[in-house]
Symmetry: C2
Subunit: 437 residues, 2 copies
């Protein structure tokens, strides 16, 4: 590839919501894109599952459509492959083939990246091709670019984000209306914010895949979805949300990737997805509805936040096009990005070693010595209590405890022991607390 | 420059707060930076005004310091020039010399970029060098990178931001304590958030320079500080802030760069810096104290926000280092960024043609027909009124008017005519309103 080539040709795999919007943006902004890249971007072909679907509303000739993606990828005149199909197979075979043959890849496939990112990176290195995937996390928000380009002179210590719009819509609704999970999920489904089978969203699988991608990039360490501790939001009750409110917090499904440094200087990474209470004054607390936002802490830059639309055809297509322009420029100048690196190879720590805080709400017997018994269980685990508040009395007595930071294993074993105490009738709510209060 | 070169050498111009922090970051993160760049980054020399200052706390040998910046820039073994001195001269001569001789430049110099960005870009093109300036706007927030890299497949329609920490600190204090401008400025000065001579901040000059840089980048059009309409915050009273509160707004000093499209499709750009009321529900309203944030609207990506620390040695040094890594990689691979483009060359429109809304608070005579007289003046200018509210009576009667969107010239001429109305005793407050309400 030399500076003389004035046209770059794209193979588009997939023509659903995102793929159609990529086609429209390429058409509408063709002149501007050509000015920015230094070459015209042309669609060489579009691979679809069924050729019989009517796509006459799209501004491309019908003969570009094909149901043979591999032949399209292998064509000599294709420079860049854009994959917006999703799923592990056959996308994995397509992208490995493209990268190994030196074709740069732009993909929105979070599941594949979170499962097999290292193999894709290796194929990209082998073929001397670029692998870009801005659209895989937080849709239209420029996030991976800044993480790997702008902050590479800095040292990231923590990434904490709201990366799933469906669950954020549900939790926002529960917070503002007092609804329970089931009711809020019904509303989200009715409005199109939740899919018919919402499992991937509400059980945190989607967020866990994104957490793996963010952690890999931020800490230069391969992290897969299987490394990510994951809890969904299906168990969150209206009472949990009300409890959060009484301590000035709101409940969010957070993805957290954190650099941990031991006393001897050994570094490791912890990656987890779970609901947590965060203070209403935290910038992430104001992120409501289907919006996404990612809060980044770096040694020198301090606290940063990136906010925007995390899903939808247009925002995702914007991210895809941004990547296409970047890899197209690299093609023209004959370089590839060297920015995805795994040189750090930090070990990934289990959830038990994560440092967090717990909020507990306990139904207790209203008699002398209950607080002492509860406090003693915390002391045994070396967990110190930050605040404790007793509400009601008689059979309705409730003890609300917020701990100081401690290893998650110590916190959860304390909860187990509290469940066995005679004076604790019921553990009403247990939730982690994140963000400074 | 080839891939064989394993060391890249940096000339650092300036060794104040930012320069010292750049030295410390280069020292502390040396191994990580080398892994990311593919070559070690070495400081070739550090130009300072006075060699006699004690700098023994910095992790560099004393012999690196020089008081002859031009000789340092001209040394054959210098690959990248970092400028953190600021001001127009002699920085302009230094950077033009560096760029023309093919040395890439990383600078935090907003004044120079806003005055002479086009000449610097031309010199960079002539020398085949990179010109990067992430640190010039919004300190440590990765903003210019995303604008020129991640969103280049999209079309930006509006950039609206809080880019000056001093004025945001003052306005936040006025909002939370009810203090007047003078009192809040005193507090900011005492806490080190305002300089002894705060003119550049409180009169909006600093924000106007940043607005010019943002507009140039977002709209691919050369915009200088002189093109930017500018109003500071020195006239803002506690009454203005209280007025904003009654309509659910807070007052912020905003920099706004907007793409305007006429009925015939002709495009232009409007760039302005002025205080404005924005709804408390707007993401920018929650940006308090010395933080910065920039809200970006793009056709496909939708609404985005970038938030973080806008000033300070560490955040600014983080941005400088991010740029250094980028240009260092380009040096190693023998390419330069082609991303700063002025191909659009859109005309810059005067403030009179900006589309905005006004909030007015008028002291009026409490007699029949006042509202009709006021409304008639708006109608004459073709401005429609969104809400009007009469408060008090007798000599204390106040009329609060919020308009619909209209050209600024029509709005301001209406205000002029209202001042001359018999029934309007005094125009108590006039302020623009931005953001959806």
């Amino acid at each position: 590839m030399t500076g003389q080539k004035r046209v770059l040709r794209l193979a588009l795999l997939g023509c659903g919501t995102v793929g159609s919007e990529v086609i429209r943006l390429l058409h509408r902004n063709g002149d501007e894109l050509a000015a920015r890249v230094g070459a015209r971007l042309e669609i060489a072909g579009i691979a679809v599952r069924r050729l019989t679907v009517d796509r006459s509303d799209l501004p491309v000739p019908a003969e570009l459509f094909t149901d043979d993606p591999m032949s399209l990828i292998e064509r000599d005149d294709v420079d860049v492959v854009i994959e917006v199909v999703g799923g592990l197979e056959p996308a994995r075979d397509w992208l490995l083939a493209a990268l190994k043959s030196g074709k740069s890849v732009v993909t929105a496939n979070k599941a594949l990246l979170a499962e097999d990112g290292a193999a894709l990176q290796a194929a990209a290195a082998e073929g001397g091709a670029d692998l870009y995937y801005e659209a895989s996390v937080a849709g239209g928000i420029p996030l991976l670019g800044p993480l790997r380009e702008s902050l590479h002179g800095d040292r990231i210590t923590r990434v904490m984000g709201i990366v799933n719009g469906t669950t954020n819509f549900i939790l926002s609704a529960m917070d503002s209306t007092g609804a329970g999970f089931g009711e809020a999920l019904e509303e989200a489904t009715a409005l199109g914010y939740a899919e018919a089978d919402p499992t991937a969203d509400v059980e945190g699988y989607d967020a866990a895949a994104k957490a793996a991608i963010l952690a890999s990039l931020a800490f230069h360490t391969p992290v897969t979805a299987a490394d990510v501790y994951r809890e969904g939001i299906t168990e969150i009750t209206a009472a949990d949300v009300a409890s959060a409110r009484t301590i000035g917090c709101t409940v969010k499904l957070l993805c957290i990737a954190q650099r941990q440094v031991d006393a001897d200087g050994t570094e490791s990474v912890g990656v987890r997805v779970h609901p947590a209470m965060i203070p209403r004054s935290h910038p992430l607390a104001g992120v409501t509805g289907a919006f996404n936002a990612v809060f980044v802490e770096a040694d020198a830059a301090g606290e940063l936040m990136f906010y925007g639309r995390g899903a939808g055809g247009s925002p995702t297509a914007s991210a895809v096009l941004g990547d296409v322009v970047a890899v197209a420029r690299h093609k023209l100048t004959g370089v590839r990005s060297a920015s995805d690196t795994s040189y750090a190879l930090l070990p990934v720590r289990p959830i038990g070693e994560a440092i967090t805080r717990y909020h507990l709400s306990l139904e207790v017997a209203d008699r002398a010595g209950v607080l002492a018994a509860v406090a003693s269980e915390f002391a045994t685990s070396g967990v110190s209590i930050r605040t404790v508040k007793q509400e009601g009395h008689g059979d309705d007595a409730t003890l609300v405890v917020v701990t100081h930071a401690a290893p998650d294993a110590a916190l959860s074993s304390t909860v187990d022991r509290l469940r066995r105490l005679d004076s604790v009738r019921k553990v009403l709510s247990v939730m982690r607390v994140e963000g400074e209060t």
